[in-house]
Symmetry: C2
Subunit: 311 residues, 2 copies
Amino acid sequence: MNDAPTDGSGGKARMRCTVLGLGSMGGGMASSLLRAGFPVSGFDVNQAACARFAAQGVAIGGTPGEAAQGAECVIAVVVNADQTEQVLFGETGCAATMAPGGVFVSSATMAPDRARALAARLEESGRHYLDAPMSGGAARAADGQLTMLASGTREAFDRARPALDAMTGTLYELGDQAGQGAAFKMVNQLLAGVHIAAACEAMAFAARQGLDLARVYEVITKSAGNSWMFENRMPHVLDGDYTPRSAVDIFTKDLGIVLDMARADRFPVPVAGAALQMYLMTAAAGMGKDDDSSVARLYAQIAGLTLPGRE
Amino acid sequence: MNDAPTDGSGGKARMRCTVLGLGSMGGGMASSLLRAGFPVSGFDVNQAACARFAAQGVAIGGTPGEAAQGAECVIAVVVNADQTEQVLFGETGCAATMAPGGVFVSSATMAPDRARALAARLEESGRHYLDAPMSGGAARAADGQLTMLASGTREAFDRARPALDAMTGTLYELGDQAGQGAAFKMVNQLLAGVHIAAACEAMAFAARQGLDLARVYEVITKSAGNSWMFENRMPHVLDGDYTPRSAVDIFTKDLGIVLDMARADRFPVPVAGAALQMYLMTAAAGMGKDDDSSVARLYAQIAGLTLPGRE
């Protein structure tokens, strides 16, 4: 059900929600929660983002702990495991200030063992942890239509449910322990990362063969060589537009986690390993903050090819 | 237009077609041509296939040259460039026996320079060459719904058109020279080969993480990590059914061509290179004739994992 909890006479009180990280994803999630009628507080290191959401009715706190004071549901939309640990257990963290019995929804992509460790530490204080990495971009975050790959205890799901209903279009319930959602997300990131690198390799290879790249896009997107990422990212290459929608450095991070997990388990992932090296080369060549389709520019740069829109 | 040419009073005579190679693809193409009303002759080294198609009305020849005697359109559905060269220019080849001014439609996957060389040699004798690698499996071949990635002269297209109309659902006209169709096909094969290897790597990695693989399939096919090949091939892994629909050895061949083309051009393709090594390992482990999703079994074998349906 997607209805917000009712308040007023006879209804249960609206759950107090906090969003930590008001960037393109967290900001959209805060908007979705406001729209559903929840009282929302928030924190971000970026003052402009804070001012923008304050104007929309988000109660801005000076620290994560201050923003989450008494919150029953805290959603952390930060970059990685270290930042998640910081907003929870850092000096100004929220673990001690959020409501006892409340739930912390962790959306950063991280290794499963980090998710398990954070959950165990938070649960010691009688609070709940939902491992809930997400899929879908800023537009779907703003529309309350994210996909979440979630795992956690029954109680964590139950307590977070009204907020999840407001933020997600698809909620996968993938297990009863923190770490399972994270593992599903890493399988997706392995594939997504390989597919973008392969798409860039194939487009540059096609350019080297002298093919019309717009025609290559037309043919491949209707053929067995297609992938969700090829279809989504290669228009950036055709347009020569490397404005970051998602940056190269996201995949140096996420494929880095995949390779770390695999190495820790003595499990070989040579295809993902080759893809990671391409993201690292692209970052090393100064394009780490650019769109992840910049891997195509790296191939072109190495081989002296001209891609659309390049100087 | 998909109508077969008319014959009888006032109509043009029905074009005489020959199909060289009556396997799962060529057999379907021969059936589509028969259905459209063309007189069809054929050749295959497999006597059982010949008998089956003789019963359907295909005039079987004892050699490629004999089958194609006087044919106006010869379609070669063989495995690679060497076999194509053999059926054209071998001692019993068809180059000298097919009708002067006729067209040879080459559907094997091969390097563009091989396609260009075959076309040049055939054109010296006043016959035409259409470079027409295909996409789509046996079912689409039987239904006359193949996709062809074709290039060649205007005359080659014009002469082959009635037969192409009977065999294809989608005909891409990709350039006026032999070799261009082949190059588009190799770009597709680079991606297809990488995506199958990545799918197998990701599923085995998911198994190593203890995830429910049916659930992984459900989540990934609705997420950004999806590919056409993941969606098509991973049910074989879930079913533990490695009956070859398309064999590992197809990709040791096709990614081998990609790597040869890239090396000849001094162009790096490290992601495709890593994928090729996985197919070679899988073939080395005795699974070259099995379904290409057997790459997942190789990972499982290396890491001591149990996949569905394995003993």
